[in-house]
């Protein structure tokens, strides 16, 4: 079949094709999975949460389609359970310590900070290794040293000249995430520039200041009216409510832009990742999700997750030059040693 197609095309000129990501999960189906997950998690005093996590991730991966095939999530729940036990322990210890004494809190904080690059590279590796497409696993090879520089050194150094170095630190973190990732034996190559990060942070700053000014002007206008209605403390609360849409807009802008700056333009051989998630649409989804979740006492949480995934993925794709059939799996030996290495992996969502 493929020979018949190539007759009309010179051999040197591969076929270019845009493959969009497609999300097929449904809110109703995921709601059932979600509520059973929570029920069993509670009944088992939290132990089932690791299996719940695998089931949820498998559901989202299996409903994410690219070029006729869906993704797969392969993590072992036991590995996740171990990681979770450590995370919950640390969370408890830290929040107890912060109330107990600054004397304990400081060394614990430093230890946590030094562990952060390790946790980040481990969790990226765990997620990559346990994600597959067409039965080929992803991989992540970032080291502690690189993560240490990207997540601890650069952000602090970047803050010194009036925070001007900070966008560069974020750029370095995103480059670290993409450049160290691989699909089978094929490395990804990062496709963005520091300039685009500076532009994003500048826009974010302008939007934030403009939004705050708008709220200030608005509150001056309606303040007397509100004080009549709600009293002084009520007015403060109502004005604080106005901050919520602003927060959601800024958060959505950042999270849409950061996803685009991470993936858009990344190279996988001669194929190119496309990510053009629009910030206004995402802001609306975040805001309406937040309202729906509160109004439904949390019952619409699964609906909101499905909605976000569908929206994001509908604006992402892979611009392929030539066939997507020729990626090779990493060598058998490498995979199994990697697998052992991640046996005790840390797994927690860092919102990356």
């Amino acid at each position: 079949m493929s020979e018949a197609f190539s007759i009309g095309q010179p051999a040197t000129e591969p076929i270019e094709q845009m493959h969009g990501f497609d999300f097929t999960g449904s809110a109703g189906e995921f709601f059932r999975i979600w509520i059973v997950n929570i029920s069993l998690t509670v009944l088992t005093l939290g132990i089932y949460s690791a299996w719940a996590k695998v089931r949820t991730s498998r559901y989202f991966a299996a409903n994410t389609h690219l070029a006729g095939a869906s993704f797969d999530y392969l993590a072992d729940p036991i590995a996740i359970l171990k990681g979770r036990a450590i995370v919950v322990g640390l969370l408890l210890a830290y929040s107890m310590a912060s109330a107990l004494s600054p004397l304990i809190q400081a060394p614990l904080g430093i230890a946590l900070a030094l562990g952060l690059p390790w946790a980040i590279s481990r969790s990226l590796a765990f997620r990559a290794y346990n994600t597959a497409w067409r039965n080929i696993r992803f991989a992540f090879g970032g080291t502690y040293g690189e993560a240490f520089i990207c997540y601890l050194v650069l952000p602090f150094v970047g803050l010194i000249p009036l925070g001007l170095g900070y966008p560069y630190a974020v750029f370095a973190q995103r480059r670290f995430m993409v450049d160290n990732a691989a699909f089978g034996t094929t490395r990804l190559r990062y496709g963005s520039t520091p300039g685009r990060f500076y532009a994003m942070f500048a826009t974010l700053g302008v939007l934030g200041v403009a939004g705050l000014l708008a709220i200030l002007v608005l509150s001056r206008m309606v303040e007397p009216l509100l004080t009549d209605l709600f009293g002084e403390s009520g007015t403060a609360a109502v004005l604080a409510l106005l901050m919520i849409p602003l927060y959601f807009s800024l958060f959505a802008f950042y999270s849409a832009q950061i996803a685009n700056l991470t993936y858009d333009g990344a190279w996988l051989n001669e194929h190119r990742v496309v990510s053009r998630v629009p910030a206004p649409g995402l802001a609306w989804i975040y805001l309406s999700n937040g309202i729906a979740i509160l109004a439904s006492l949390g019952l619409l949480i699964p609906w909101s997750h499905v909605r976000i995934a569908r929206y994001r993925l509908s604006h992402m794709g892979l611009f392929a030059r030539g066939s997507l059939d020729d990626f090779a799996a990493a060598q058998g030996g490498d995979v199994s040693s990697l697998g052992e290495q991640f046996g005790e992996a840390f797994d927690f969502d860092l919102g990356l």
Partner: protein, 348 residues
């Protein structure tokens, strides 16, 4: 015979091979794959690793050697599992596909979640807090007084007034259980206005403004007894335990620590935290009322003082107290006037 149509991914490259799997009654499996070499085409049923069904997502049957046969025919695979392997269908999927199970689970979760957060966590925290020694409980919030001194000024009250109030304080403390290191200190409250704080160590901080606000000494005594109640009932430690437990519950329900859910979770967290705090206030109020009654001091003084404080801190509350860390002052005044302490939960 069961026949499944699908694709085969050999695990070597990303090429998809159209494939068909036939499962025969004699437990042999024949795999017919287009264009794949090196994939064993004759297998037995036991070679197949069949995953549990997950909604209506594709089924990926793992074969020996790392290849995967992928089929959207979920019913066909379920039949394979049931008739050929004689296994029961996956329990989790059964739960998920039964509407009654889902509805029951939903209702049970809402009730259980509400009950656990409102009664379970406080009850467990109380047990935990009283399991440790008062000295450990007092360890919470060390350095808070130093912190308060950054924003408060030294007291300008007359030394004799301070001494008289300390005497009254010592009378209250004499009725408290052993182990706490009680001390009464006075500060000019500045931004805090008329206020009093109890530190878990047993130090009670009272502002000059509060002393000035009171018209009877008994009104101050009532406030002191309330603050001692906070210490005796170990509210500092219990608050820390309850907040930590609540954070863990919220992470478990929302499933992640990322910032979207963090923000959405902030409002329920605030509501629950303030409800915890109101319960502590009620408990301290009862402690105060009990002390006043036992020592023949009219509880009316407590009610009057609460009224004065409410007036001082600015009028009515539009949200009926749901966003407040203290019960509405009307409620507190009524309770104090009744003078008969009740269990805190009865009134909610």
């Amino acid at each position: 015979m069961t026949r499944l149509e699908g694709v085969l991914h050999d695990g070597e490259t990303s090429r998809a091979h159209p494939a068909r799997m036939e499962i025969h009654r004699d437990r042999t499996v024949v795999l017919d794959v287009e264009g794949a070499e090196g994939v064993e085409s004759r297998l037995v049923l036991e070679d197949l690793d069949v995953p549990a069904r997950l909604g209506d997502t594709v089924r990926r049957i793992r074969l020996p050697g790392g290849a995967v046969f992928e089929t959207p025919d979920n019913d066909g695979v379920d039949e394979l599992v049931r008739t050929h392997r004689g296994e029961r269908p996956n329990l989790i999927h059964q739960l998920e596909s039964r509407l009654v199970a889902v509805v029951v689970a939903t209702l049970v979760m809402i009730v259980a979640g509400f009950a656990f957060v409102t009664w379970g966590i406080p009850a467990l925290a109380k047990k935990a807090a009283f399991a440790v020694s008062p000295e450990t409980s007092a360890y919470i919030g060390q350095g808070t007084l130093e912190l308060l001194d950054e924003v408060m000024e030294p007291s300008e009250l007359l030394e004799e007034d301070q001494a008289r109030l300390r005497e009254r304080f010592d009378e209250i403390v004499a009725t408290a259980p052993e182990g706490h290191d009680f001390e009464l200190v006075f500060r000019r409250g500045e931004g805090f206005g008329a206020n009093a704080f109890a530190l878990p160590s047993g130090t009670v901080v009272m502002t000059d403004e509060l002393v000035d606000l009171a018209e009877h000494e008994e009104e101050i005594v009532a406030v002191l007894a309330h603050e001692v109640g906070h210490v005796v009932h170990r509210h500092g430690l219990r608050h820390v335990i309850q907040s930590s437990a609540l954070a863990v519950v919220i992470v478990l329900v929302t499933g992640d620590l990322s910032s979207t859910s963090g923000f959405v979770a902030a409002i329920p967290t605030l509501l629950v935290e303030t409800s915890f705090s109101r319960d502590f206030e009620r408990e301290a109020d009862e402690h105060a009322a009990r002390y006043l009654v036992a020592h023949g001091i009219p509880t009316q003084h407590f009610a009057t003082m609460l009224d004065r404080l409410a007036e001082q801190h600015g009028g009515g509350d539009a949200f009926g107290g749901y966003l407040s860390s203290h019960p509405t002052s009307d409620e507190r005044v009524q309770r104090a006037q009744r003078g008969s302490p009740e269990e805190p939960d009865v009134d909610r």
